[in-house]
Amino acid sequence: MKKFDLVKLKNTKPYKNLNLYKDSNGIILEEQKGKSKVLFFNPLNRGECLITQVNNFDISYQNAAFPSNLHEEFINYFSSIEKRAVSKFSIPKVKEFDWVKLNVEKPKYAKEGIHKGEIGCVMSDHAFQNCVEVDFINFDDSMAVDMDDLEVIKRREDK
């Protein structure tokens, strides 16, 4: 494995404190002496990334590398990525088919006709930049809502 190779995390046990998920996608940033510094992406909250060192035997190579025509841009932008990288992955507060209540009044929801107290059902199995798709009962369309603005009123029963 070498720099810019795409990898997946196979063994999460040693990295429990980082909330890394099995099969999280990552890009190798540095590789030496059986260890790699990897930029991982949160599959449950797209847009969130984390940089950590892992043992090479805990990751698998995906037979692909980050496209070479993006290397320069990636290197130029790396300090910004580093700044925004989190210290551990967030665990989504809500899951698909949880029933939720909007617990804030914000202009971005109000302009769509959604106000504090509205009840809806989560319709996506992952978040994007901390937002999930919610189908509100009194609203014909689903809309993306920040998970921090939601309160779970009924969890989907795990089956």
Binding site: P67, F97, S124, Q129, I137, D140, A144, R156
Partner: protein
Amino acid sequence: MSAFSDLIKVDKNGRIYYNKWIEWIHLYNYVGIEREVVEEYIAVALRHCASCMALSGCYFFKGVMPKYPLHPHCDCKTMDIDINWVKKKAKAECKIEKFTEYIFTDEEQSKGKKALFESWGFDISDSEYLKNEFCRQALENYLSGNYKLKKLDGEGQRLAIPITLKNKTFYSGWLLRPQGLIINITPYGGKFK
């Protein structure tokens, strides 16, 4: 709607045909692992326009596509593609839980939608049929260009696609993904207007 002349193309054998479909392409157009990593993750890390990245690889009927270019200095391109290619690749996905866990749930909050479907003669035992019927009709309407554009953001382009059950037509909400994949978000998205 595009100009009529834009829709007429001549293939390499000199045959005239109507080209009504485009593929939206951002700077990079990959398939497989590269697409997953480049377009869904790095796009955000590198702060490329998330909406453009979400549109990359999506197929649109020319009469019903997002404003192009999407924004000033947009790097995206569109490429004419044949309807037969779209037909070959496109598919619709809908989780059965959209019915069993949402429409027909016993939750007090869902009574309106549950009552609506029950008034049409459906109950939870019809979930499998409904799932298949929604996929069939949504795919057929998408391929006919019979859909409306709804919200676009980094998650993707939402589509409102009409579904008809027992002579009642309404919209259902779908998310358009690359290569003609449409994924159901919500089975009932309001009255057909």
